[in-house]
Symmetry: C2
Subunit: 86 residues, 2 copies
């Protein structure tokens, strides 16, 4: 298997610049950055007195929550597929 070359992509999130190193396409990394930025701004709207670190941690909490939920949904689909395939 050919190893994918790692590339550096620079994105802005909540007024700060981040350099992301990885094998993902720039468009994927930018999509992720935009989603994080939007979610941080939405949390600040609802909690104007939170500092940036807490806003970022709560954004991570929301994402990990969604991730666990989606993991369960994916496992349920895999079980269903397994049954259908016999």
């Amino acid at each position: 298997m050919e190893e994918k070359e790692k590339i550096r992509i620079t994105v802005d999130i909540y007024g700060q610049t981040y350099t992301i190193l990885g094998t993902d396409s720039p468009s994927h990394v930018r999509q992720v950055a935009t989603l994080v930025d939007n979610q941080m701004r939405a949390i600040r709207e609802r909690n104007p007195y939170l500092d940036t670190t807490k806003i970022a941690v709560l954004t991570a909490v929301n994402s990990v929550h969604d991730l666990l939920k989606l993991q369960n949904e994916k496992e349920a689909l895999e079980q269903e597929l397994k049954k259908l395939k016999g």
Copy 2:
């Protein structure tokens, strides 16, 4: 449908206390908090000079990246199921 009662759960993440308001079980919220805390500590290990906000933002970036990947995988499974069911 009965509306679930919202409860307040207090967790510690990276040395700070957060109060999470939601309908999830305390054990789910604690699992999420532990995952975020672990991921923040892992990022700090690899990047000892990052400040806490940047560590938290990069944790959110990783989680959203995993989330998008999982969403694609889930959609592929749903397509496969749809085909099998005719």
